[in-house]
């Protein structure tokens, strides 16, 4: 099977044709190739999401590997890293292999499972990290995500242990004693709304400790969804000292503030919570500067009944796969090389996905994304992905180029946030 993408601009460079054969971008004879019109489109290395919740196994009513893969492909992703907080938890080789296999079966994007750091995300003892690393899923990223490894000794051991297979611990930072009952960012809006605050210091103190631990024992540390200006400062100092730390920010933390909670609509409930305008501008600056390495979605779908209720009873989480690129473009502008770095190359490097994050030039694996620079994908309550089921298209082994959107819609700055409420 051959494809010829005609007249496409690779990372904003002059127009060219891309020939894809056997999953690799090649030079040579294009005869017999299926032709795709790339006129006006920009080719990027396929986007890689380091932080996706696919909910399967366990909450297939909220999302499945297949439906999440479709959302990812629609958003321009060619690989997603599936978080471990499924039911059962992805804390054994068996579960990560199951998720990996479901991803292969869906066949739309590469689904790379993330393994839990501790058994059952309970924060008590290490899961079999080595077994997950040597399984068919070849797990390299480990995370307890929202549960946070809050025990410093356990965190230290995990950081040390994964050095044996160049693993990385991805840490959600939250000091649990400081966030008991927390509902939203602690500040003026929370006070006015009578919602228990989630103070920035609960994130920043944990980040500082994780960075120091990583510095002490020497492995790689990845920090999940940075949400405060103070965390940016912690990262800036750590990087200046040469600590091997990478960081992600979500599209919603680049776009929205805690004022959104004023509606009490739990669509805006997320963890870490939406912060202040000052935090948003610090995060935007840090992403441009490289203190924050990547955009990761923390795509976290929920069943309708878990959002259509009182704020305090709703589950935290927002959608992101379909809208992340539009938001990143609004923050970074059409700096295609920077977009490629923050959304493809760097996340692929962190996740150890050797087949991803390569610029679409001859010789590279054909994991690429075609973007219409004029298109913007908005979201909003009730504007989720189209309903399932959708017959799986017959497909050659390599994922085809994903076209994030040819539909023109509201620009993200004016859009209500992505959600499947």
């Amino acid at each position: 099977m051959k494809y010829l993408i005609k007249g496409v601009s690779v990372l904003g460079r002059p127009k060219t044709d891309l020939l894809i054969r056997d999953g690799v971008i090649q030079q040579g004879d294009a005869k017999g190739a299926e032709v795709l019109d790339g006129d006006g489109l920009v080719a990027l290395p396929g986007l890689v999401d380091l932080h996706t919740h696919l909910r399967e196994p366990g909450r297939e009513d909220a999302e499945t590997v297949e439906s999440g893969s479709r959302a990812a492909a629609l958003g321009g992703y060619t690989a997603v890293c599936a978080m471990a907080n499924t039911s059962p938890v992805a804390d054994t080789a068996g579960v990560v292999e199951q998720v990996y296999r479901l991803g292969r079966e869906a066949g739309l994007v590469d689904v790379q499972p993330i393994g839990a750091v501790t058994v059952g995300l309970a924060g008590e003892r290490l899961a079999e990290l080595g077994a997950m690393a040597t399984s068919a899923a070849a797990v390299r990223v480990f995370s307890d995500d929202g549960h946070c490894v809050s025990d410093p000794k356990l965190m230290r051991r995990a950081l040390e242990y994964v050095k044996a297979f160049d693993g990385v611990i991805a840490q959600h930072a939250e000091e649990p004693r400081l966030t008991e009952g927390a509902q939203m960012h602690e500040g003026e809006v929370a006070t006015r709304l009578g919602l228990t605050g989630w103070p920035a210091v609960a994130e920043e103190a944990t980040r500082a400790r994780a960075v120091r631990l990583a510095e002490h024992v020497g492995p790689r540390l990845h920090v999940c969804h940075v949400s405060t200006a103070g965390s940016v400062e912690v990262l800036r100092h750590a990087k200046a000292r040469g600590v091997r730390v990478t960081a992600e920010v979500t599209p919603h933390h680049l776009l929205l503030t805690d004022e959104r909670a004023t509606s009490y609509d739990p669509v805006f409930k997320v963890n870490p919570p939406l912060r202040t305008a000052a935090d948003v501008s610090a995060l935007r600056a840090a992403l441009k500067e490289g203190v924050i390495d990547i955009v990761a979605t923390d795509h976290a779908p929920h069943a309708v009944e878990d959002k259509e209720c009182e704020w305090a009873y709703a589950r935290p989480g927002m959608l992101g796969l379909e809208t992340a690129l539009s938001i990143a473009l609004s923050v970074l502008g059409e700096d295609w090389d920077l977009i490629a770095e923050r959304m493809s190359r760097a996340p692929a490097r962190i996740a150890g996905l050797s087949g991803h994050g390569h610029d679409p030039v001859p010789g590279a694996p054909a994991n690429l994304t075609l973007v219409d620079p004029a298109a913007r994908r908005g979201g909003g309550p009730g504007r989720g992905a189209p309903p399932r089921p959708h017959p799986r298209p017959p497909r050659p082994a390599p994922p085809p180029p994903a076209v994030p959107s040819t539909r023109r819609s509201r620009p993200p700055a004016a859009a209500t946030p992505p959600t499947r409420a």
Partner: protein
């Protein structure tokens, strides 16, 4: 005015209209037949997800004095205890033709959510640690009837402001009506960023106060280290006889109830001539009559 969700939503003119209407309603309480035909044929549902005696009875009395049909829906022993969602309950009430729903709920913002699901008016009768707007209105009514005005009054709100919906509503409404509020309590119980004057020293505030509003302090708070002991709390922030005597001659003492006698307020103070605690209960009915009347389409 379609709903009453937050005292912060009321402008000065609307709030004053409620207080003036309440004054007219109060006249009815003095009559032998305490009833007006105004809301005959209208249905008011009291939807209470939290135990409450005085607020529920007050709303019930108010609706009945206006001749409305009242349905009491308590979360205990209802479909709610079987796990029904607020939205499904709302749709049920909607189908039964509720013209107004009075809701008390442990989750902040529940009345706001309810208002998006029902066509009738929603009255917030206390939501979590957010607001209790009719309490603020009845407090303002009480201050105005005792002291003759609200503009320029110096009001000290003392105690667990952090967890108090009464305090939030009062801060918002009193600011709108031109009173000057000072929040008093231990720093652990005064929320960050409330745009109001704050003092940690009750004795310093009392000589200059026109109104002292004591808030209920739950004894459980000391288990979460908000303060060391009941005794220390009462000593630093309780209103006892000697402290009361520091107040100016005309000053009044308020409490939304239920009181912890001996904790935030001494019996000597609660039962003194300065205390408006029983008056507040009576005024509550008049104010709730006024709110129901205005929400359900009446004009004075």
């Amino acid at each position: 005015m379609k709903h009453l969700l937050s005292a912060a939503d009321l402008d000065a003119a609307t709030a004053t209209l409620v207080l003036d209407t309440a004054a007219e309603m109060a006249g009815i309480a003095g009559r032998e037949v305490k009833k007006l035909p105004t809301l005959r044929g209208r249905t008011v549902v009291n939807l209470f997800y939290e135990d409450s005696t005085r607020t529920r009875i007050s709303f019930e009395a108010a609706a009945k004095r206006l001749s409305a049909d009242v349905i009491n829906f308590s979360a205990k022993g209802s479909s709610v205890s079987k796990g029904e969602s607020l939205k499904d309950t709302a749709l049920t009430l909607q189908a039964m033709g509720a013209d107004a729903v009075v809701i008390r709920h442990p989750a902040s913002g529940a009345p706001h959510r309810l208002a998006t699901w029902v066509e009738g008016s929603v009255l917030n009768a206390g939501d979590g640690t957010h607001e209790h707007p009719t309490q603020a209105l009845l407090d303002a009514y009480t201050m105005r009837s005792r002291l003759g005005r609200l503009a320029g009054l110096k009001v000290a709100v003392v105690g667990d402001v952090l967890h108090s919906r009464v305090a939030r509503s009062n801060v918002a409404l009193l600011a709108t009506l031109g009173a000057k509020v000072t929040l008093v309590g231990p720093p652990t119980l005064i929320p960050v960023d409330l745009q109001t004057q704050v003092s940690y020293d009750l004795d310093a505030v009392l000589p200059d106060a026109d109104v002292v509003m004591m808030l209920r302090v739950q004894r459980e708070r000391m288990n979460d280290s908000y303060f060391p002991s009941e005794r220390e709390y009462a000593r630093r922030y309780g209103l006892d006889g000697p402290r009361m005597r520091k107040l100016p001659e005309h000053a009044i003492v308020m409490h939304p109830g239920p009181m912890n006698r001996g904790m935030e307020i001494a019996p000597e103070v609660a039962d003194s001539a300065r205390s408006t605690i029983v008056e507040q209960v009576a005024n509550g009915v008049s104010v709730r009559m006024a709110v129901l009347y205005l929400l359900l389409g009446g004009k004075p």
